[in-house]
Protein backbone atom coordinates (compact mmCIF):
# COMPACT_ATOMS: atom_id res chain seq x y z
CA UNK A 1 0.00 0.00 0.00
CA UNK A 2 1.33 3.44 -0.92
CA UNK A 3 1.99 6.16 1.66
CA UNK A 4 -0.83 8.32 0.31
CA UNK A 5 -3.19 5.36 0.43
CA UNK A 6 -2.29 4.74 4.08
CA UNK A 7 -2.75 8.42 4.84
CA UNK A 8 -6.16 8.42 3.16
CA UNK A 9 -7.12 5.34 5.18
CA UNK A 10 -6.17 7.15 8.38
CA UNK A 11 -8.12 10.26 7.37
CA UNK A 12 -11.13 8.13 6.48
CA UNK A 13 -11.01 6.45 9.89
CA UNK A 14 -11.07 9.87 11.54
CA UNK A 15 -13.51 11.70 9.26
CA UNK A 16 -15.96 9.23 7.69
CA UNK A 17 -18.49 9.05 10.52
CA UNK A 18 -18.73 12.85 10.72
CA UNK A 19 -19.14 13.20 6.96
CA UNK A 20 -21.79 10.46 6.80
CA UNK A 21 -23.62 11.93 9.81
CA UNK A 22 -23.71 15.44 8.33
CA UNK A 23 -24.98 14.12 4.99
CA UNK A 24 -27.58 11.87 6.63
CA UNK A 25 -28.96 14.87 8.47
CA UNK A 26 -29.48 16.65 5.13
CA UNK A 27 -30.76 13.78 2.99
CA UNK A 28 -32.61 12.13 5.87
CA UNK A 29 -31.41 8.60 5.09
CA UNK A 30 -28.11 6.91 5.98
CA UNK A 31 -28.00 4.69 2.88
CA UNK A 32 -27.60 7.48 0.31
CA UNK A 33 -25.51 9.47 2.81
CA UNK A 34 -22.98 6.65 3.04
CA UNK A 35 -22.88 6.29 -0.76
CA UNK A 36 -22.19 10.02 -1.16
CA UNK A 37 -19.42 9.82 1.42
CA UNK A 38 -17.96 6.83 -0.42
CA UNK A 39 -18.04 8.88 -3.64
CA UNK A 40 -16.01 11.54 -1.88
CA UNK A 41 -13.53 8.89 -0.71
CA UNK A 42 -13.15 7.63 -4.29
CA UNK A 43 -12.56 11.21 -5.45
CA UNK A 44 -9.87 11.59 -2.79
CA UNK A 45 -8.20 8.36 -3.87
CA UNK A 46 -8.20 9.64 -7.44
CA UNK A 47 -6.93 13.15 -6.85
CA UNK A 48 -4.80 13.23 -3.69
CA UNK A 49 -1.95 11.00 -4.92
CA UNK A 50 -1.26 13.67 -7.59
CA UNK A 51 -2.42 16.87 -5.86
CA UNK A 52 -1.24 16.02 -2.38
CA UNK A 53 -3.41 15.78 0.74
CA UNK A 54 -5.25 19.08 1.32
CA UNK A 55 -4.65 21.11 4.49
CA UNK A 56 -8.07 20.31 5.84
CA UNK A 57 -8.93 16.87 4.44
CA UNK A 58 -12.12 16.58 6.48
CA UNK A 59 -13.53 19.78 4.97
CA UNK A 60 -12.45 18.62 1.50
CA UNK A 61 -14.32 15.32 1.89
CA UNK A 62 -17.35 17.14 3.25
CA UNK A 63 -17.40 19.68 0.40
CA UNK A 64 -16.94 17.00 -2.26
CA UNK A 65 -19.71 14.85 -0.81
CA UNK A 66 -21.92 17.93 -0.62
CA UNK A 67 -21.39 18.68 -4.32
CA UNK A 68 -22.29 15.09 -5.18
CA UNK A 69 -25.40 15.43 -3.05
CA UNK A 70 -26.44 18.59 -4.85
CA UNK A 71 -25.85 16.95 -8.25
CA UNK A 72 -27.96 14.01 -7.19
CA UNK A 73 -30.68 16.30 -5.86
CA UNK A 74 -30.78 18.27 -9.11
CA UNK A 75 -31.13 15.06 -11.11
CA UNK A 76 -33.95 13.91 -8.87
CA UNK A 77 -35.68 17.29 -9.11
CA UNK A 78 -35.39 17.16 -12.87
CA UNK A 79 -36.89 13.68 -12.93
CA UNK A 80 -39.68 14.83 -10.62
CA UNK A 81 -40.36 17.84 -12.81
CA UNK A 82 -40.59 15.64 -15.90
CA UNK A 83 -43.04 13.41 -14.08
CA UNK A 84 -45.06 16.48 -13.08
CA UNK A 85 -45.02 17.72 -16.67
CA UNK A 86 -46.43 14.39 -17.72
CA UNK A 87 -49.21 14.86 -15.22
CA UNK A 88 -47.94 12.39 -12.62
CA UNK A 89 -48.04 13.19 -8.95
CA UNK A 90 -44.70 14.18 -7.52
CA UNK A 91 -43.21 11.38 -5.40
CA UNK A 92 -41.16 13.89 -3.49
CA UNK A 93 -42.97 17.02 -2.51
CA UNK A 94 -40.17 18.16 -0.27
CA UNK A 95 -36.44 18.14 -0.80
CA UNK A 96 -34.29 19.54 1.96
CA UNK A 97 -32.25 22.59 1.11
CA UNK A 98 -28.84 21.02 0.82
CA UNK A 99 -26.90 24.11 0.06
CA UNK A 100 -28.03 25.93 3.18
CA UNK A 101 -25.88 24.23 5.77
CA UNK A 102 -23.39 21.44 5.31
CA UNK A 103 -20.90 22.92 7.67
CA UNK A 104 -19.36 21.40 10.76
CA UNK A 105 -21.45 18.50 11.97
CA UNK A 106 -22.78 18.72 15.50
CA UNK A 107 -22.45 16.06 18.15
CA UNK A 108 -26.17 15.40 17.74
CA UNK A 109 -25.63 14.25 14.17
CA UNK A 110 -22.98 11.75 15.18
CA UNK A 111 -25.17 10.52 18.03
CA UNK A 112 -28.12 10.13 15.64
CA UNK A 113 -25.91 8.07 13.35
CA UNK A 114 -24.99 5.72 16.21
CA UNK A 115 -28.65 5.29 17.17
CA UNK A 116 -29.73 4.62 13.58
CA UNK A 117 -26.91 2.11 12.92
CA UNK A 118 -27.95 0.22 16.08
CA UNK A 119 -31.70 0.49 15.43
CA UNK A 120 -33.71 -2.46 16.82
CA UNK A 121 -35.52 -2.79 13.48
CA UNK A 122 -32.30 -4.40 12.17
CA UNK A 123 -31.08 -7.91 12.96
CA UNK A 124 -28.25 -7.97 15.48
CA UNK A 125 -25.47 -8.91 13.04
CA UNK A 126 -26.61 -6.14 10.68
CA UNK A 127 -26.38 -3.58 13.50
CA UNK A 128 -22.84 -4.75 14.23
CA UNK A 129 -21.76 -4.57 10.57
CA UNK A 130 -23.41 -1.19 9.99
CA UNK A 131 -21.90 0.29 13.15
CA UNK A 132 -18.38 -0.78 12.18
CA UNK A 133 -18.90 0.45 8.64
CA UNK A 134 -20.58 3.82 9.38
CA UNK A 135 -18.90 4.71 12.67
CA UNK A 136 -15.74 2.64 12.82
CA UNK A 137 -14.67 3.53 9.29
CA UNK A 138 -14.05 -0.16 8.52
CA UNK A 139 -14.32 -1.46 4.95
CA UNK A 140 -16.57 -4.42 4.20
CA UNK A 141 -13.65 -6.83 3.72
CA UNK A 142 -12.18 -5.76 7.06
CA UNK A 143 -15.46 -6.49 8.85
CA UNK A 144 -15.64 -9.86 7.08
CA UNK A 145 -12.11 -10.78 8.15
CA UNK A 146 -12.78 -9.72 11.71
CA UNK A 147 -15.92 -11.84 11.99
CA UNK A 148 -14.58 -14.80 9.98
CA UNK A 149 -17.43 -14.61 7.44
CA UNK A 150 -17.33 -14.19 3.64
CA UNK A 151 -17.11 -10.61 2.40
CA UNK A 152 -20.27 -11.09 0.29
CA UNK A 153 -22.19 -11.94 3.46
CA UNK A 154 -21.20 -8.68 5.14
CA UNK A 155 -21.88 -6.67 1.97
CA UNK A 156 -25.33 -8.25 1.78
CA UNK A 157 -26.05 -7.49 5.44
CA UNK A 158 -25.14 -3.85 4.93
CA UNK A 159 -27.19 -3.45 1.74
CA UNK A 160 -30.22 -5.06 3.41
CA UNK A 161 -29.78 -3.01 6.56
CA UNK A 162 -29.72 0.26 4.61
CA UNK A 163 -32.81 -0.81 2.67
CA UNK A 164 -34.63 -1.79 5.87
CA UNK A 165 -33.85 1.56 7.49
CA UNK A 166 -35.08 3.38 4.40
CA UNK A 167 -38.27 1.33 4.10
CA UNK A 168 -39.05 1.60 7.79
CA UNK A 169 -38.55 5.39 7.44
CA UNK A 170 -36.37 5.38 10.55
CA UNK A 171 -35.97 9.00 11.57
CA UNK A 172 -32.42 10.36 11.65
CA UNK A 173 -32.55 11.71 15.18
CA UNK A 174 -31.59 11.10 18.78
CA UNK A 175 -34.49 9.27 20.45
CA UNK A 176 -36.09 11.07 23.39
CA UNK A 177 -38.30 10.11 26.28
CA UNK A 178 -39.15 6.49 27.00
CA UNK A 179 -37.74 5.31 23.63
CA UNK A 180 -34.26 6.47 24.63
CA UNK A 181 -33.68 3.74 27.20
CA UNK A 182 -34.51 0.89 24.84
CA UNK A 183 -32.56 2.40 21.94
CA UNK A 184 -29.54 3.08 24.13
CA UNK A 185 -29.62 -0.51 25.37
CA UNK A 186 -29.33 -1.64 21.75
CA UNK A 187 -26.35 0.68 21.13
CA UNK A 188 -24.56 -0.61 24.22
CA UNK A 189 -25.31 -4.21 23.29
CA UNK A 190 -23.84 -3.71 19.80
CA UNK A 191 -20.64 -2.13 21.15
CA UNK A 192 -20.22 -4.92 23.69
CA UNK A 193 -20.84 -7.57 21.02
CA UNK A 194 -18.08 -6.03 18.90
CA UNK A 195 -15.79 -5.91 21.91
CA UNK A 196 -16.46 -9.53 22.87
CA UNK A 197 -15.88 -10.75 19.34
CA UNK A 198 -12.41 -9.21 19.54
CA UNK A 199 -11.90 -10.55 23.05
CA UNK A 200 -12.69 -14.08 21.85
CA UNK A 201 -9.90 -13.92 19.26
CA UNK A 202 -7.17 -16.50 19.74
CA UNK A 203 -3.52 -16.66 18.69
CA UNK A 204 -3.20 -17.18 14.97
CA UNK A 205 -6.44 -15.35 14.20
CA UNK A 206 -6.37 -12.50 11.69
CA UNK A 207 -5.15 -9.35 13.44
CA UNK A 208 -8.41 -7.64 12.51
CA UNK A 209 -10.11 -9.70 15.22
CA UNK A 210 -8.38 -8.42 18.35
CA UNK A 211 -8.55 -5.01 16.65
CA UNK A 212 -12.31 -5.12 17.25
CA UNK A 213 -11.69 -4.55 20.96
CA UNK A 214 -9.92 -1.34 20.11
CA UNK A 215 -12.72 -0.30 17.72
CA UNK A 216 -15.41 -0.97 20.33
CA UNK A 217 -13.46 0.82 23.03
CA UNK A 218 -12.92 3.85 20.81
CA UNK A 219 -16.61 3.98 19.86
CA UNK A 220 -17.52 3.63 23.54
CA UNK A 221 -15.32 6.59 24.42
CA UNK A 222 -16.86 8.58 21.55
CA UNK A 223 -20.33 7.71 22.84
CA UNK A 224 -19.40 8.68 26.39
CA UNK A 225 -18.28 12.10 25.11
CA UNK A 226 -21.53 12.53 23.14
CA UNK A 227 -23.84 11.29 25.89
CA UNK A 228 -21.98 12.19 29.08
CA UNK A 229 -25.13 12.05 31.25
CA UNK A 230 -25.92 8.40 30.58
CA UNK A 231 -24.48 6.30 33.43
CA UNK A 232 -24.67 2.96 31.63
CA UNK A 233 -22.52 4.34 28.79
CA UNK A 234 -19.79 5.01 31.34
CA UNK A 235 -20.52 1.61 32.88
CA UNK A 236 -19.91 -0.11 29.56
CA UNK A 237 -16.80 1.97 28.82
CA UNK A 238 -15.46 1.07 32.25
CA UNK A 239 -16.17 -2.62 31.70
CA UNK A 240 -14.42 -2.59 28.32
CA UNK A 241 -11.40 -0.59 29.59
CA UNK A 242 -10.97 -2.98 32.53
CA UNK A 243 -11.37 -6.12 30.45
CA UNK A 244 -9.02 -4.77 27.77
CA UNK A 245 -6.47 -4.02 30.49
CA UNK A 246 -5.96 -7.80 30.90
CA UNK A 247 -5.50 -8.45 27.19
CA UNK A 248 -1.75 -9.08 27.27
CA UNK A 249 -1.99 -11.35 30.32
CA UNK A 250 -4.78 -13.56 29.02
CA UNK A 251 -2.63 -15.90 26.95
CA UNK A 252 0.64 -17.67 27.57
CA UNK A 253 3.64 -17.81 25.22
CA UNK A 254 2.08 -20.78 23.38
CA UNK A 255 -1.26 -19.03 22.99
CA UNK A 256 -2.84 -21.05 25.81
CA UNK A 257 -5.54 -19.24 27.80
CA UNK A 258 -4.59 -18.12 31.30
CA UNK A 259 -7.40 -17.87 33.88
CA UNK A 260 -7.96 -14.53 35.59
CA UNK A 261 -6.62 -15.65 38.96
CA UNK A 262 -3.49 -17.17 37.38
CA UNK A 263 -2.60 -14.11 35.30
CA UNK A 264 0.62 -12.16 35.75
CA UNK A 265 -0.89 -8.91 36.99
CA UNK A 266 2.24 -6.98 36.04
CA UNK A 267 1.06 -7.46 32.48
CA UNK A 268 -2.22 -5.71 33.12
CA UNK A 269 -2.40 -2.33 31.43
CA UNK A 270 -2.17 0.40 34.06
CA UNK A 271 -3.46 3.17 31.79
CA UNK A 272 -6.62 1.26 30.92
CA UNK A 273 -7.20 0.29 34.56
CA UNK A 274 -6.97 3.93 35.59
CA UNK A 275 -9.41 4.93 32.85
CA UNK A 276 -11.73 2.05 33.69
CA UNK A 277 -11.88 3.00 37.36
CA UNK A 278 -12.52 6.66 36.44
CA UNK A 279 -15.37 5.69 34.10
CA UNK A 280 -16.90 3.49 36.81
CA UNK A 281 -16.73 6.36 39.30
CA UNK A 282 -18.51 8.56 36.74
CA UNK A 283 -21.28 5.97 36.26
CA UNK A 284 -21.73 5.78 40.03
CA UNK A 285 -21.73 9.58 40.47
CA UNK A 286 -24.53 9.74 37.93
CA UNK A 287 -26.54 7.34 40.07
CA UNK A 288 -26.06 4.40 37.74
CA UNK A 289 -24.07 2.11 40.01
CA UNK A 290 -26.83 -0.51 39.85
CA UNK A 291 -26.95 -0.79 36.05
CA UNK A 292 -25.97 -4.16 34.56
CA UNK A 293 -22.83 -2.78 32.85
CA UNK A 294 -21.78 -0.72 35.87
CA UNK A 295 -22.17 -3.77 38.13
CA UNK A 296 -20.07 -5.93 35.81
CA UNK A 297 -17.52 -3.10 35.68
CA UNK A 298 -17.53 -2.93 39.49
CA UNK A 299 -16.75 -6.65 39.62
CA UNK A 300 -13.92 -6.19 37.10
CA UNK A 301 -12.71 -3.25 39.22
CA UNK A 302 -12.46 -5.50 42.29
CA UNK A 303 -10.03 -7.69 40.36
CA UNK A 304 -8.16 -4.67 38.98
CA UNK A 305 -7.65 -3.27 42.48
CA UNK A 306 -6.23 -6.50 43.92
CA UNK A 307 -2.43 -6.38 43.72
CA UNK A 308 -2.30 -10.18 43.85
CA UNK A 309 -5.07 -12.75 43.31
CA UNK A 310 -5.09 -13.59 47.06
CA UNK A 311 -6.10 -10.00 47.85
CA UNK A 312 -9.33 -10.24 45.85
CA UNK A 313 -12.32 -8.97 47.82
CA UNK A 314 -14.62 -11.95 47.20
CA UNK A 315 -17.18 -10.80 49.74
CA UNK A 316 -17.69 -7.58 47.79
CA UNK A 317 -17.70 -9.45 44.48
CA UNK A 318 -20.37 -11.86 45.73
CA UNK A 319 -22.48 -8.88 46.87
CA UNK A 320 -22.13 -7.35 43.41
CA UNK A 321 -23.18 -10.66 41.82
CA UNK A 322 -26.23 -10.70 44.11
CA UNK A 323 -27.21 -7.30 42.68
CA UNK A 324 -26.40 -8.33 39.12
CA UNK A 325 -28.54 -11.46 39.53
CA UNK A 326 -31.44 -9.13 40.38
CA UNK A 327 -31.09 -6.61 37.53
CA UNK A 328 -29.86 -8.98 34.81
CA UNK A 329 -30.58 -12.55 35.89
CA UNK A 330 -29.09 -15.36 33.81
CA UNK A 331 -27.78 -18.88 34.50
CA UNK A 332 -24.21 -17.74 33.74
CA UNK A 333 -24.48 -14.85 36.23
CA UNK A 334 -25.84 -17.35 38.77
CA UNK A 335 -22.88 -19.66 38.19
CA UNK A 336 -20.41 -16.80 38.62
CA UNK A 337 -22.25 -15.82 41.78
CA UNK A 338 -21.88 -19.38 43.09
CA UNK A 339 -18.14 -19.31 42.35
CA UNK A 340 -17.72 -15.92 44.07
CA UNK A 341 -19.74 -17.09 47.10
CA UNK A 342 -17.60 -20.22 47.38
CA UNK A 343 -14.46 -18.07 47.54
CA UNK A 344 -16.02 -15.56 49.94
CA UNK A 345 -17.93 -17.85 52.32
CA UNK A 346 -16.58 -21.33 51.68
CA UNK A 347 -17.22 -24.16 49.21
CA UNK A 348 -20.38 -25.46 50.93
CA UNK A 349 -22.24 -22.16 50.42
CA UNK A 350 -21.09 -22.00 46.80
CA UNK A 351 -22.03 -25.61 46.11
CA UNK A 352 -25.57 -25.01 47.32
CA UNK A 353 -26.00 -22.32 44.65
CA UNK A 354 -24.22 -24.34 41.96
CA UNK A 355 -26.32 -27.44 42.67
CA UNK A 356 -29.46 -25.42 42.00
CA UNK A 357 -28.19 -24.96 38.45
CA UNK A 358 -27.92 -28.69 37.68
CA UNK A 359 -31.41 -28.74 36.21
CA UNK A 360 -30.82 -25.58 34.12
CA UNK A 361 -31.17 -26.70 30.47
CA UNK A 362 -28.99 -23.91 29.02
CA UNK A 363 -26.04 -25.06 31.17
CA UNK A 364 -26.43 -28.75 30.31
CA UNK A 365 -23.34 -28.79 28.08
CA UNK A 366 -21.53 -25.83 29.66
CA UNK A 367 -18.16 -27.08 30.91
CA UNK A 368 -17.73 -24.32 33.48
CA UNK A 369 -20.56 -25.70 35.66
CA UNK A 370 -18.91 -29.10 36.32
CA UNK A 371 -15.54 -27.37 36.49
CA UNK A 372 -16.79 -24.98 39.22
CA UNK A 373 -18.56 -27.80 41.09
CA UNK A 374 -15.41 -29.93 40.83
CA UNK A 375 -13.44 -27.15 42.47
CA UNK A 376 -15.93 -26.77 45.32
CA UNK A 377 -16.19 -30.54 45.89
CA UNK A 378 -12.41 -30.79 45.88
CA UNK A 379 -12.15 -28.13 48.54
CA UNK A 380 -14.78 -30.00 50.60
CA UNK A 381 -12.64 -33.15 50.40
CA UNK A 382 -15.27 -35.00 48.34
CA UNK A 383 -12.59 -36.19 45.96
CA UNK A 384 -14.37 -38.95 44.06
CA UNK A 385 -17.21 -36.58 43.14
CA UNK A 386 -14.73 -33.82 42.27
CA UNK A 387 -12.84 -36.18 39.97
CA UNK A 388 -16.04 -37.10 38.12
CA UNK A 389 -16.93 -33.42 37.69
CA UNK A 390 -13.48 -32.45 36.33
CA UNK A 391 -13.65 -35.36 33.90
CA UNK A 392 -17.12 -34.32 32.79
CA UNK A 393 -15.92 -30.73 32.28
CA UNK A 394 -12.91 -31.98 30.29
CA UNK A 395 -15.22 -33.94 28.02
CA UNK A 396 -17.38 -30.86 27.41
CA UNK A 397 -14.74 -28.22 26.63
CA UNK A 398 -13.68 -27.68 23.04
CA UNK A 399 -10.38 -26.10 24.02
CA UNK A 400 -7.53 -28.63 24.03
CA UNK A 401 -5.42 -26.72 26.56
CA UNK A 402 -8.34 -26.33 28.92
CA UNK A 403 -9.07 -30.06 28.59
CA UNK A 404 -5.51 -30.91 29.60
CA UNK A 405 -5.79 -28.56 32.57
CA UNK A 406 -9.08 -30.14 33.74
CA UNK A 407 -7.78 -33.71 33.33
CA UNK A 408 -4.77 -32.68 35.40
CA UNK A 409 -7.11 -31.53 38.16
CA UNK A 410 -9.08 -34.78 37.90
CA UNK A 411 -5.87 -36.73 38.35
CA UNK A 412 -5.03 -34.86 41.54
CA UNK A 413 -8.38 -36.04 43.02
CA UNK A 414 -7.14 -39.61 43.44
CA UNK A 415 -7.02 -40.67 47.14
CA UNK A 416 -3.82 -39.86 49.08
CA UNK A 417 -1.18 -42.53 48.68
CA UNK A 418 -2.32 -43.33 45.17
CA UNK A 419 -0.93 -40.02 43.97
CA UNK A 420 2.25 -38.57 45.39
CA UNK A 421 1.53 -35.15 43.87
CA UNK A 422 -1.39 -34.46 46.14
CA UNK A 423 0.53 -32.52 48.78
Amino acid sequence: MSDVRRTIDAIWRIESARVIAALARRVGDVGPAEELAQDALVAALETWPASGVPDNPGAWLMATAKHRAIDRQRREQLATKKMDDLGHASPRAFLPDLDSALDEPTGDELLSLIFVACHPVLPREARVALTLRLLGGLATDEIARAFLVPEATVAQRIVRAKRTLSEAKVAFEVPRGPALEQRLASVLEVLYLIFNEGYAATAGDDWMRPGLCEDALRLGRVLAALAPDQPEVHGLVSLMELQASRMAARTGPGGEPILLLEQDRARWDAVLIRRGLAALARAQELGGGQGPYALQAAIAACHARAQVAQDTDWVHISQLYNLLAQVAPSPVVELNRAAAVSLAFGPAAGLELADALLTEPSLKDYHLLPSARGDMLFRLGRLAEAKAEFERAAALTRNAQERAFLLGRAQRCSPPGANQDLG
Binding site: A10, M247, A248
Partner: protein
Amino acid sequence: MRFMMLMIPTGYEKAQPQAAPPPEAIEMMMKYNDSLRKAGVLLSLDGLHPPAKGVRLSRAGGKLKVTDGPFAETKEALGGYWILQVKSKEEAIEWASRCPAVQPYAPDGVATIELRQLQELTDFSPDAQKVVEKYPELAKLAANQPGR
Protein backbone atom coordinates in the same frame (compact mmCIF):
# COMPACT_ATOMS: atom_id res chain seq x y z
CA MET B 1 -0.36 1.14 19.00
CA ARG B 2 0.46 4.05 21.23
CA PHE B 3 2.36 7.18 20.38
CA MET B 4 3.74 9.94 22.48
CA MET B 5 3.14 13.20 20.66
CA LEU B 6 5.70 15.74 21.80
CA MET B 7 5.21 19.49 21.62
CA ILE B 8 8.44 21.44 21.10
CA PRO B 9 7.60 25.17 21.14
CA THR B 10 10.28 27.23 19.41
CA GLY B 11 12.28 29.27 21.93
CA TYR B 12 10.87 27.39 24.93
CA GLU B 13 14.45 26.55 25.90
CA LYS B 14 14.97 30.24 26.70
CA ALA B 15 11.50 30.99 28.09
CA GLN B 16 11.08 32.82 31.40
CA PRO B 17 10.20 30.61 34.39
CA GLN B 18 6.66 32.00 34.55
CA ALA B 19 6.15 31.93 30.76
CA ALA B 20 2.66 30.85 29.72
CA PRO B 21 0.74 31.06 26.44
CA PRO B 22 -2.02 33.71 26.16
CA PRO B 23 -5.59 32.58 26.99
CA GLU B 24 -6.58 32.61 23.29
CA ALA B 25 -3.80 30.14 22.47
CA ILE B 26 -4.76 27.99 25.45
CA GLU B 27 -8.37 28.02 24.27
CA MET B 28 -7.37 26.76 20.83
CA MET B 29 -5.20 24.04 22.32
CA MET B 30 -8.00 22.97 24.65
CA LYS B 31 -10.40 22.68 21.71
CA TYR B 32 -7.85 20.52 19.94
CA ASN B 33 -7.33 18.37 23.03
CA ASP B 34 -11.07 17.98 23.38
CA SER B 35 -11.36 16.85 19.76
CA LEU B 36 -8.82 14.11 20.56
CA ARG B 37 -10.82 13.11 23.62
CA LYS B 38 -14.12 13.07 21.73
CA ALA B 39 -12.57 10.90 19.01
CA GLY B 40 -11.60 8.37 21.69
CA VAL B 41 -7.87 8.47 20.88
CA LEU B 42 -6.49 10.50 23.81
CA LEU B 43 -5.18 8.41 26.71
CA SER B 44 -3.39 11.10 28.68
CA LEU B 45 -1.68 14.48 28.36
CA ASP B 46 0.43 16.92 30.36
CA GLY B 47 2.08 20.30 29.96
CA LEU B 48 5.60 21.02 31.22
CA HIS B 49 7.06 24.09 32.92
CA PRO B 50 9.87 25.78 30.95
CA PRO B 51 13.46 24.52 31.38
CA ALA B 52 14.11 27.75 33.35
CA LYS B 53 12.44 25.94 36.28
CA GLY B 54 14.20 22.67 35.53
CA VAL B 55 17.45 21.04 36.59
CA ARG B 56 19.96 18.94 34.64
CA LEU B 57 22.30 16.33 36.01
CA SER B 58 25.30 14.84 34.28
CA ARG B 59 28.76 13.51 34.99
CA ALA B 60 31.61 15.88 34.14
CA GLY B 61 35.31 15.70 35.09
CA GLY B 62 34.60 12.66 37.24
CA LYS B 63 32.03 14.55 39.28
CA LEU B 64 28.29 14.87 39.40
CA LYS B 65 27.27 18.15 37.86
CA VAL B 66 23.91 19.68 38.76
CA THR B 67 22.82 22.65 36.62
CA ASP B 68 19.78 24.86 37.14
CA GLY B 69 17.84 25.91 34.03
CA PRO B 70 17.70 27.56 31.61
CA PHE B 71 20.37 25.53 29.86
CA ALA B 72 22.48 27.65 27.53
CA GLU B 73 23.59 24.77 25.32
CA THR B 74 20.14 23.33 24.48
CA LYS B 75 18.51 24.09 21.12
CA GLU B 76 15.00 22.87 21.89
CA ALA B 77 12.83 21.99 24.85
CA LEU B 78 9.63 20.04 25.44
CA GLY B 79 6.49 21.97 26.25
CA GLY B 80 4.20 19.02 26.81
CA TYR B 81 3.05 15.67 25.52
CA TRP B 82 0.01 13.59 24.65
CA ILE B 83 -0.36 9.78 24.66
CA LEU B 84 -2.49 8.65 21.72
CA GLN B 85 -4.05 5.26 21.00
CA VAL B 86 -4.21 4.83 17.21
CA LYS B 87 -4.32 2.09 14.60
CA SER B 88 -1.40 3.25 12.49
CA LYS B 89 1.51 5.67 12.35
CA GLU B 90 -0.40 7.51 9.60
CA GLU B 91 -3.31 8.04 11.97
CA ALA B 92 -0.94 9.51 14.57
CA ILE B 93 0.49 11.83 11.89
CA GLU B 94 -3.03 12.84 10.89
CA TRP B 95 -3.93 13.79 14.45
CA ALA B 96 -0.63 15.64 14.90
CA SER B 97 -1.27 17.60 11.70
CA ARG B 98 -4.42 19.04 13.32
CA CYS B 99 -2.55 20.55 16.25
CA PRO B 100 -3.05 24.36 16.33
CA ALA B 101 0.73 24.86 16.32
CA VAL B 102 1.04 23.57 12.76
CA GLN B 103 -2.13 25.03 11.25
CA PRO B 104 -2.03 27.44 8.28
CA TYR B 105 -2.87 30.33 10.65
CA ALA B 106 0.08 29.57 12.92
CA PRO B 107 3.30 31.51 12.27
CA ASP B 108 6.01 29.53 10.45
CA GLY B 109 8.15 27.51 12.81
CA VAL B 110 6.24 28.42 15.97
CA ALA B 111 6.63 24.86 17.19
CA THR B 112 7.61 21.35 16.15
CA ILE B 113 5.54 18.26 16.85
CA GLU B 114 7.39 15.00 17.21
CA LEU B 115 5.81 11.53 17.23
CA ARG B 116 7.46 8.63 19.02
CA GLN B 117 5.97 5.17 19.29
CA LEU B 118 5.88 3.71 22.80
CA GLN B 119 8.08 0.66 23.27
CA GLU B 120 6.52 -2.67 24.12
CA LEU B 121 8.04 -5.54 26.02
CA THR B 122 8.15 -7.55 22.79
CA ASP B 123 10.45 -4.91 21.24
CA PHE B 124 13.19 -6.07 23.64
CA SER B 125 15.52 -9.04 23.06
CA PRO B 126 14.54 -12.24 24.94
CA ASP B 127 17.39 -11.65 27.41
CA ALA B 128 16.33 -8.07 27.99
CA GLN B 129 12.71 -9.20 28.42
CA LYS B 130 13.78 -11.53 31.22
CA VAL B 131 15.44 -8.62 33.00
CA VAL B 132 12.37 -6.40 32.58
CA GLU B 133 10.08 -9.15 33.85
CA LYS B 134 11.96 -9.21 37.16
CA TYR B 135 10.31 -5.84 37.92
CA PRO B 136 6.57 -6.47 37.61
CA GLU B 137 5.65 -3.43 39.74
CA LEU B 138 7.35 -1.17 37.19
CA ALA B 139 5.41 -2.67 34.32
CA LYS B 140 2.23 -1.62 36.11
CA LEU B 141 3.34 2.00 35.85
CA ALA B 142 4.18 1.94 32.15
CA ALA B 143 1.88 3.69 29.72
CA ASN B 144 2.14 0.75 27.37
CA GLN B 145 1.83 -3.03 27.50
CA PRO B 146 2.60 -5.77 24.98
CA GLY B 147 -0.13 -6.30 22.48
CA ARG B 148 -1.51 -2.81 22.64
